[in-house]
Symmetry: D2
Subunit: 309 residues, 4 copies
């Protein structure tokens, strides 16, 4: 297994079948950097165009359509001392008439202190003078090239991943993506130092990052290019989870729930009824974003209830 | 403060302006029982008609429209040794085409062991032989009489509460309801020994309960019958939370998010921007039910970020 | 068959199991009046409380749960010379951020000229000086008492009818309602002199009406109290149609589409595939309201494609 | 103005910044052909891969981002004598539990008789022996290259057009598209001999077509690359209309309604209140598709109410 040190020289605002930025082997590790959602790098300069510029894509040698790409997030670390957020709730997350009372969008800056592992407002309004949010660095937008030659904007998400803005994508998590094109073409960016559920102001604490990840191919054992998984999945020491990206939230939930049911019946020795019984009383949902064109809902199960076949 | 021991003699399948079952004073405590969602009591007999028969209503003397009713859930304890759930995911929580592959509804029984504090399937399918779910007894359906003389079925929910099926309504929580009619008319029932998020098989572990609660009136300080709160709220030692009941989930989320923003600006010393900044990076969402006619979304904030004015 | 002349003396703001205002027989005709949505009568006085005060309920002797109530709208005629509308698009019918640019709610008056059969703004803004909308008088809110003893506000709608605000409910149409309680308990009101699709300013041209209708019972031939129809239906010389009342619009459409499929297979000699083939290429949808708590979608089929069995 | 006769040699399954198939000038007319949704041509051979293969793209010389492309549909004519549809309602257009009763997808063929201008089932099920649907040839999927270098699948739709499946896109209509890339890059295909509203079996009567269109550029008069229009618009002799492509249908309706309000205030001499008043009482909605990943809702206004400034 090789560890690659990769310094990006250009970025993409779509996830698509772009020329590979680096070829890596199954099991390789990559240490690289991401700019923030507006294209600011570690030094604070704008070096590329918004929205959510992607580092990559990384071509994983041997990955073929129908396979699954496993990306272990080894490390996600802010590489500068400030981030920014919007300062008003998005119009679509409040009652329509209440939206008429909200101020327009404005940007505020936060001091991101990786020594103390907290984020603090530069100019806190009344009542937030003591607010110190624990850091929980995450990737807001990452994934693979989509099917049928599509190139899909980094403002949205789908089966290939993309702008999911789920605050559970932190270091220590393995994310799984369906592979649609040879090499999978993995893209990443849009780091947040922390983020509430839903990304309801339209941003996390947007920041540039040092990221290390390890990519592994799970081969499709079928001869047919049938996808082993149908949408993004993930796991860590405590949970397995599935990710639905769609609008409305109801549909995102349907996708995540269906994928979990399929996972339990294919890999965890449960039949249809067993999977339903377990999910009915033990499942948990988490909200990724409810701001982007596609919303994100996560369906989780604690590992303690599961026996891998 | 008085403690009332109340044995219900009849039940209601709507929350409405029914004749009071008991008059209580501000601050009084009530010890009573609830039957399960299908009308089975502690002895397992069906003593009243489904769905979700309600104990009550309790008339809280002095409660007037515009006030808020605070109900502290002192104790929620299963009073028999078995519960039941459905055994198939509901058609509306999976992808529409996947629904076509699911079996029809069927009922299974669970042994509910309050000594060991676990629930176990009576006839576990393959892979669930060792499943033992920790109990987390909750009320699925409770609330007050709605506005304008309405009587609303216990299958659904709205601003007055009702069938929210939120697994955070456990003992130790205080729930807040807008008061729409004199006496508030508090109803309760539909106990679950445990329940996954979303109530995605259409039930929790349905069971009869012994319940103790304490009711308190928070007077509207205005001379006008303006409601202090606009939908259900709650809190415990760790969180404050707001509850949106509507379809789709997007709208339930909008209601909960709006109510939290209003709570923070009215009671916690934050202005519009401060409340937005805090919520944007610190809020959490939890899914009540995604099965009933109205879905339920909960918006939570950890108390640690708050300073009561 | 008797024709009743009924002058209402009180009104209801819920559809529910209220004391009958008049008992009528199967096949009887009623001539009566309705006040406007805010309770103004033909003389312009406010005589009862908003919202959408209902005339009735009318107890149709012999109607039993499981039957269908057919209400032929013989005549719907404005009985005064003015109506009112709101003047701004509702916040929920435009893009959330666009809502922030809209003015707040305001009321404007219209001259309703039944001689010329047009409605004209009292104080037209620039560009609408010549606007003369053809009258198309309709009932916005009507229906029967709902199931399980519910009383449901006239601001919303469901299987029992209610505030559907569908501009196809004009004279000459027969509306069908499931019967949930003995006597059906038919309520009506909320007349509009005209209304665009969707009721997107939150009102039609609100006006008091003289209404004549004829009620007929279609007996359930089963011995069981199974409902023959599951939601509101209608027909006129040109179309048959079904009405879905729910949120979001997607669900309203699902309800209407399901009901049409069931109607075609039960009454028009088609099997499941035949009904699907016909609907797929011939169905039309119309939007009732997208303003009220429950939206309304109508599924229509031209009679020309149908052969009654 | 030139008339081009263009025979496609290859097709695209995304709308994107593909190499132009033909360069045309502002005002030119193109006569070309489209294959059906599954890639069958006029002779019935499969000559390219599904879904919805696009003819083009056509580069309109002089079109620049911020301009509007006007495409007049001069003629849309089936060029073979058969089409096909699916035979079962899509699972997502009926109640979730009802979907479980529907058969799986199956294909049936129709005889398309352009002499008699009707479509007839090859093997009609009971009750549809006499079904003869009037032809109303339309384009299901057409539009321009999207923004930010995206390539978006022909199964879905957005601001750039795409798979809208609106049965109002017939000959005689002018469709308007925002221009996102130099040359606009117009694509077309997915012809239907006829189609019900909603495309609720997932297809119209799918058929290959001879198509003639005329393209015209409406220059953005601003110096800035601000789009004059924000989503697809259209008009014919009777109506102007706007098209919202999104999920759920509620959001599609919001987009279409917003765009109509903007059109009326920018081009028809109405202020915000005037546009709202007119729309509130005169607007009509039509459903494009409720099958594809993005649904389509159309907002229409009769020309009779409008005075062009």
């Amino acid at each position: 297994m090789t560890t690659h040190h990769f310094s990006p020289t250009h970025y993409h605002v779509t996830l698509g079948s772009h020329a590979p930025a680096l070829y890596i082997a199954d099991g390789d590790t990559v240490m690289t950097t991401t700019v923030d959602a507006n294209g600011h790098d570690a030094s604070g300069r704008v070096i590329t165009a918004e929205p959510n510029p992607m580092t990559g894509p990384f071509f994983v040698k041997g990955a073929m359509p129908g396979d699954t790409l496993a990306v272990h997030l080894d490390s996600i670390m802010p590489n500068r001392a400030w981030g920014w957020t919007r300062a008003a709730l998005a119009a679509n997350v409040v009652n329509p008439e209440y939206a008429q009372t909200l101020p327009l969008r404005e940007i505020v800056n936060w001091h991101v202190d990786v020594e103390k592992w907290i984020a603090i407002l530069d100019a806190p309004p009344r009542g937030l003078e003591n607010l110190a949010i624990p850091l929980a660095p995450m990737l807001g937008c990452f994934g693979v090239a989509p099917w049928d030659g599509q190139a899909i904007s980094t403002v949205t998400s789908a089966e290939h991943g993309g702008n999911m803005d789920y605050n559970g994508f932190v270091q220590g998590v393995t994310a799984y993506f369906p592979v649609f094109v040879p090499g999978a073409l993995f893209h990443l960016g849009d780091g947040h130092a922390a983020q509430g559920d839903g990304e309801i102001v339209g941003t996390g604490i947007e920041i540039s990052m040092d990221v290390q990840f390890t990519a592994r191919i799970i081969k499709n054992k079928s001869d047919l290019p049938i996808r082993k998984i149908n949408t993004v999945r993930g796991e860590n020491a405590e949970f397995i989870f599935t990710v639905g990206n769609a609008r409305p939230l109801d549909q995102a939930l349907q996708i995540a729930t269906t994928e979990m049911h399929q996972w339990l019946t294919s890999d965890y020795g449960l039949d249809t009824t067993g999977a339903s019984l377990l999910m009915g009383q033990c499942v948990r949902y988490e909200v990724g974003n409810v701001f982007d064109p596609a919303y994100t809902m996560v369906c989780k199960l604690p590992r303690g209830y599961l026996t891998r076949e």
